[in-house]
């Protein structure tokens, strides 16, 4: 895969269809209404930070997030990476890293002093990906109670 062909840019409204398709490729479920809602949210909150990777005229990777303060008692302005995905055909060629560079740069420009994310430990590789990007495990543990 020729990396030069991949362009990293801000998320746009016209990416909804492609992101829905990529999510379906990754997770096996077609969820257009989920992405309509989410994209509506990020386009409203912070269209600069959320980013996509485009190759051959379609989205092959995305990383969505925003800067917030006050989550879980963390008062400092924090950039939250909330959802990401890279097309399996384009993995291992720094698409994820380039997406993160753009997102983090934008978080910094918006005044974030930290970047945080939550990783599902059952999803192999994502934790290593963040470690490779310089993230370190934080002393916070997620808890869940199911009904």
């Amino acid at each position: 895969m020729n990396q030069a062909e991949v362009r990293i840019r801000a998320l746009e409204d016209t990416d909804i269809g492609d992101i829905t398709a990529l999510d379906e490729k990754l997770g096996g479920k077609y969820r257009p209404e989920v992405w309509e809602r989410r994209l509506g949210y990020y386009m409203r909150r912070d269209p600069d930070s959320s980013s996509v990777a485009e190759a051959d005229g379609r989205v092959v990777g995305f990383m969505l997030g925003e800067v917030r303060s006050g989550e879980f008692g963390l008062e400092e302005p924090t950039g939250w990476i909330e959802v990401l995905g890279v097309d399996p055909d384009y993995r291992g060629s720094a698409v994820g890293r380039r997406l993160a560079e753009r997102v983090l740069e934008s978080f910094r420009a918006r005044g974030a002093t930290h970047v945080r994310t939550l990783v599902d430990e059952e999803m192999a590789g994502i934790g290593d990906f963040f470690v490779a990007l310089g993230f370190e495990p934080a002393p916070m543990r997620p808890f869940v109670k199911r009904f």
Partner: protein
């Protein structure tokens, strides 16, 4: 990203607030309920935002590499005149779109969609405010005889029918217009703002980033509901059909194309460093983006109608429908949404007043063409004055009474409120304020649409 927030001098700020009381009556409701509808979003503030730390060198044109202008007085008068024309036209569009959206805002079927449009209207108010900030912050006396009061009053007294650009003189007929307008006409706005972000006039360039952030949401406020309508239509809803959406596209898309200005023009803006692209180039990029929107809407429709298909199978069905124009698995070509030909129903630019059909076909007879238009445009729109004016102009062009170029130039006349108070909440604050500029009644200030 850091910005500086600026308020207009009090009397002008108040004039815009007064204007909003009349044309955006739900503004207070929006502000009071902001936290309910947009939890954790920063509060809306009616002010101008100036981005800090932007490029200080001219980015295109004859003066590329030289420092950007921080004052209009330092620019060549022709350059400054062009720029002022663009600022006025932009201001007119911002206020104009609010007047249009207000007409059908109450007809939304879904509260979320309605509130999105309402927020978008408040942001358009801010965009108009931003343009007035540019008018007031600098001294334009070298290129305009109008006083500051006059310039502001002229903008605030425009109504649907007297705005500078055609798209803002057309009434909305249903909420489908609200969302289609966002998806198609705000998209032109996005292109214009993105181009003006490199403007050689620094205050203009600094005004764009915040407007562009807001514009991104305006596009989503159009595209997301449209996608949901496609799903509903595919499931056989009686509330919205793809034919409604198609007709709304036919109504707005030609006007969107014309907002880029004449396909042969735009070179002056590039030379002056005001925009990086000529009209035709920007228009082409727009067409490609709308093609993507349309394709996504159709995928949404096919997947909703045939949920049993895999993504690849659904794409296959869509391809076949688009190639054969027939029917596949109960979906016909007409069930989908399509882009009208770029020559269809045009009144400005290269194809102005040509008898070009929706599919790009040519008509020999005027009557056949009008019958064709009547099949492709919404009924309520055809009953309105914009369409009747177009038909009247087209008839004159085709009888040889006038040329297409002349008919294209028939600008809407700027109506000034003069001494008559249009309503109890009017913006008549200008009266008694020293200058009422009564001599320029009816002047469009020589601003061609192609400046935008």
């Amino acid at each position: 990203m850091s910005t500086r927030q600026v308020e207009l001098p009090k009397k002008y700020h108040q004039a815009i607030v007064k204007w909003s009381e009349r044309f955006l009556p739900d503004y207070d409701f929006l502000i009071e309920n902001w936290d309910r509808f947009f939890p954790r979003d920063p509060e809306f503030r009616l002010c101008a935002y100036r981005e800090l730390g932007m490029c200080t060198k001219i980015e295109c044109g004859d003066m590329e590499g030289k420092p950007k202008f921080d004052e209009a007085g330092k620019m060549h008068p022709k350059q400054a005149g062009h720029l002022l024309g663009a600022i006025r036209a932009q201001a007119s569009t911002e206020f104009g779109s609010i007047q249009q959206h207000q007409l059908t805002l109450a007809r939304a079927q879904d509260e979320e969609e309605q509130v999105w449009i309402l927020r978008m209207m408040a942001e358009e108010l801010r965009h108009g405010y931003q343009m007035i900030h540019l008018m007031l912050e600098d001294d334009w006396s070298a290129v305009s005889d109008h006083s500051e009061d006059d310039m502001v009053e002229q903008i605030l007294s425009m109504r649907t029918g007297s705005h500078i650009l055609g798209a803002f003189n057309i009434d909305f007929d249903s909420f489908v217009d609200n969302v289609t307008f966002c998806a198609l006409i705000d998209r032109v706005g996005k292109f214009q703002l993105a181009m003006q972000k490199v403007s050689s006039y620094q205050p203009m360039a600094e005004s764009m980033p915040q407007m562009l952030r807001e514009e991104a949401f305006h596009l989503a406020a159009g595209v997301v509901p449209l996608r949901r309508y496609m799903e509903k239509a595919a499931q056989g809803s009686f509330c919205v059909s793809t034919s409604d959406i198609q007709k709304a596209f036919n109504k707005w898309f030609p006007r969107g194309l014309e907002m880029f200005g004449d396909e042969r023009g735009g070179g002056t803006n590039v030379r002056f460093g005001l925009k990086p692209m000529k009209n035709a180039e920007a228009q082409q990029a727009y067409i490609e983006e709308v093609e993507k929107v349309v394709r996504d809407l159709n995928v949404r429709f096919v997947r909703a109608r045939l949920p049993e298909l895999s993504p690849a199978e659904a794409q296959g069905v869509l391809e076949q429908l688009l190639t054969d124009h027939g029917a596949v698995r109960g979906i016909s070509h007409e069930d989908l949404v399509h882009m009208p030909d770029s020559g269809f129903f045009r009144r400005r630019g290269v194809p102005a007043f040509e008898l070009i059909g929706w599919d790009g076909e040519s008509f020999a007879e005027l009557d056949d063409y009008l019958a064709h238009l009547s099949r492709h445009l919404p009924d309520a729109y055809r009953a309105g004055r914009d369409f009747s004016q177009y038909v009247e102009a087209l008839t004159r062009v085709h009888s040889g009474e006038t040329t297409a170029a002349e008919a294209s130039q028939e600008m809407p006349v700027l109506t000034r409120v003069g001494g008559v108070c249009p309503c109890s909440k009017s913006v008549r604050w200008v009266a008694g304020n020293g200058s009422n500029g009564a001599d320029d009644r009816g002047s469009a200030d020589g601003v061609p649409a192609s400046t935008l």
